[in-house]
């Protein structure tokens, strides 16, 4: 699974996710990628999210819109909301991670497994990538 989130000069957000699913999956099985509010979500008033991991759990717990709701209604920072949701998903069997960006500030990239292929642009425009 791959994904991207972005904020443009006008302050608008967008999220995109694309996947081959999981190895040897049941034919017809669809994970969280095309389920808006689970694996992919974008709303200028809160955040843009793209997730990767145990799709069934990210769907049942509406991972992406859960983060957006905490930002919008609970006044949490994007970082706090994203890291808490990813941690809570781990206890429900949801391995994986996500990237998210809000109306202001840097992108966040929490994950609850050993590693996530990820990258973001720094405030100075540098390209930062990481695996573990």
């Amino acid at each position: 699974t791959v994904g991207a989130v972005a904020r443009d000069q006008a302050g608008h957000l967008a999220a995109g996710t694309s996947t081959g699913g999981l190895t040897a999956k049941r034919p017809g099985r669809v994970g969280d990628t095309p389920v808006f509010g689970a694996g992919t979500f974008a709303e200028d008033a809160s955040c843009a999210v793209s997730a990767t991991g145990t799709g069934e759990v990210f769907i049942r717990f509406t991972a992406a819109s859960e983060i957006a709701a905490r930002v919008k209604y609970a006044g949490q920072s994007l970082e706090q909301a994203a890291f808490e949701v990813i941690a809570e998903l781990a206890s429900e069997g949801g391995d994986g991670g996500l990237i998210a960006i809000g109306a202001h500030g840097p992108a966040v990239m929490p994950f609850n497994c050993a590693g996530m292929y990820r990258g973001c642009i720094g405030a100075d425009g540098s390209l930062l990538t990481a695996i573990h």
């Binding site: 957000l13 694309s18 999981l22 190895t23 040897a24 095309p34 497994c113 996530m116």
Partner: protein, 175 residues
């Protein structure tokens, strides 16, 4: 003017640090940087976040290191079924496809659904026919598969047949 921002991911899992060979790690970093560079180019030129996301995801879809499009994994039936989704924060426009194999860039099929179908989600063969009617580039199934993904399928099916425990993490299976 807002400060531009961009992030990408290429999947998650128990990526074994000790056995990840340096040249493999370097190639992965290079793939992620290429995606960031493509998105950043759009944003620096004043382009919309939607175009930056598409540009970055397309680079990762074209890179066989990552599980999407070129480099997608196989189902238990030995086929490939891809899903993709795109959402715009300004007005919450959204488009997605599921269970398709054909469009070289599934993220562009999702965008076509968002911009030209009047729907939010299209699935299966009808989604492929819609994407073809919208003029998207299609590839043969062989383009999407790679020897390593085929080997992973064979290994997993052999494990299931033997009844051996599945030691992979969920993220590995999904990532």
């Amino acid at each position: 003017m807002a400060q531009i921002g961009l992030a990408v991911h290429g999947g998650a899992g128990t990526i074994p640090a000790q056995t990840l060979r340096p040249e493999v790690a370097d190639a992965l970093h290079e793939g992620l940087r290429a995606a960031l560079a493509a998105g950043l180019l759009v944003l620096k030129a004043g382009g919309p976040a939607l175009d930056a996301v598409c540009a970055a995801v397309m680079v990762l879809e074209d890179d066989s290191q990552f599980n999407s499009a070129h480099g997608a994994v196989f189902t238990a039936a030995g086929r490939m079924e891809m899903d993709a989704a795109l959402m715009e924060g300004h007005g919450r426009r959204a488009g997605a496809v599921a269970g398709i194999c054909g469009p070289r860039n599934p993220i562009l099929a999702a965008r076509a659904v968002m911009e030209a179908s009047g729907n939010v989600l299209l699935i299966g063969q009808a989604a492929e026919e819609f994407a073809r009617a919208e003029g998207l580039v299609f590839m043969d199934e062989a383009y999407f598969s790679t020897p390593s993904r085929r080997a992973a399928l064979a290994l997993e099916l052999a494990r299931r047949a033997s009844g051996a425990p599945d030691t992979r993490s969920d993220a590995d299976r999904h990532g």
